[in-house]
């Protein structure tokens, strides 16, 4: 199965990544693309800064991707997670899941996002519009609960 995992500071191109996953194939019936974007939190934020643990981030996402592949009949999986300074409106994360049928693609993409939120070694901190450095974003209990759905 085509599995692509990348951690990068540069933006990604969802159309290119989707084409790589589907080109020349006629067995894929469903592709779910999840894109996570940086919000400005009502005008409060100038940027989010994403710190990550190089090496472990790739290993952990690879492990989560392997779990998704063993749970659903996937035909392709792409996870790209950015790090560094990201402005409101910019993309942070992309998950692509391809399958013959929609249910597997939807569930795998949702599962991957819940795990990325709570298990992948990334940390966000806020940079405020007034030029100051804001707080580290706190982990949300709702994200832990979302992950527990899959246990």
């Amino acid at each position: 199965m085509a599995r692509t995992i990348r951690i990068q500071s540069e933006p990604f191109d969802t159309a290119v990544e989707t084409a790589i996953l589907t080109e020349g194939r006629a067995d894929i019936g469903a592709v779910v693309a999840f894109t996570g974007l940086c919000r400005d939190e009502g005008g409060r934020l100038a940027a989010l800064e994403l710190e990550h643990y190089p090496g472990m981030a790739e290993a952990e996402i690879d492990r989560i991707a392997g779990q998704a592949e063993s749970r659903w009949p996937l035909l392709g999986l792409t996870v790209i997670h950015r790090f560094g300074r990201i402005s409101p409106g910019e993309e942070i994360v992309l998950v692509l899941a391809a399958s013959a049928h929609r249910q597997a693609a939807f569930e795998a993409a949702s599962f991957l996002m819940d795990y990325l939120k709570t298990q992948a070694p990334f940390w966000k901190r806020e940079h405020l519009k007034d030029g100051t450095t804001g707080a580290w974003v706190e982990a949300k209990e709702a994200d832990d609960r979302a992950m527990e759905r899959w246990a």
Binding site: M56, M113, A120, F122, W123
Partner: protein, 83 residues
């Protein structure tokens, strides 16, 4: 043994990483945290709430009771907020 720190754990400890020589009797992650807290205020501040700081041994999430025998790199960090 290499220790690495991320996010506010890194800021509180005041360094991104360090190499340490552990004394006898440090067998688990919890032992290591207890030993670090005795090394100075910056460590006791970083680990003031031990239930919050997460650990990974050689890139794998572990619990406090996990063994650190043979580990090359141990990481400490806050709960993850990726995605």
């Amino acid at each position: 043994m290499k220790l690495v720190y991320f996010a506010w754990v890194r800021e509180r400890v005041g360094k991104t990483d360090e190499d340490v020589e552990l004394p006898e009797g440090i067998g688990t992650v919890a032992d290591l945290v207890r030993w670090l807290k005795g090394r100075g205020e910056e460590y006791s501040y970083a680990f003031e709430n031990e239930g919050v700081v997460r650990a990974a041994v050689d890139h794998v999430h572990v619990k406090p009771e996990a063994s650190i025998a043979g580990a090359r790199e141990i990481a400490f960090f806050p709960p993850m907020t990726g995605g």
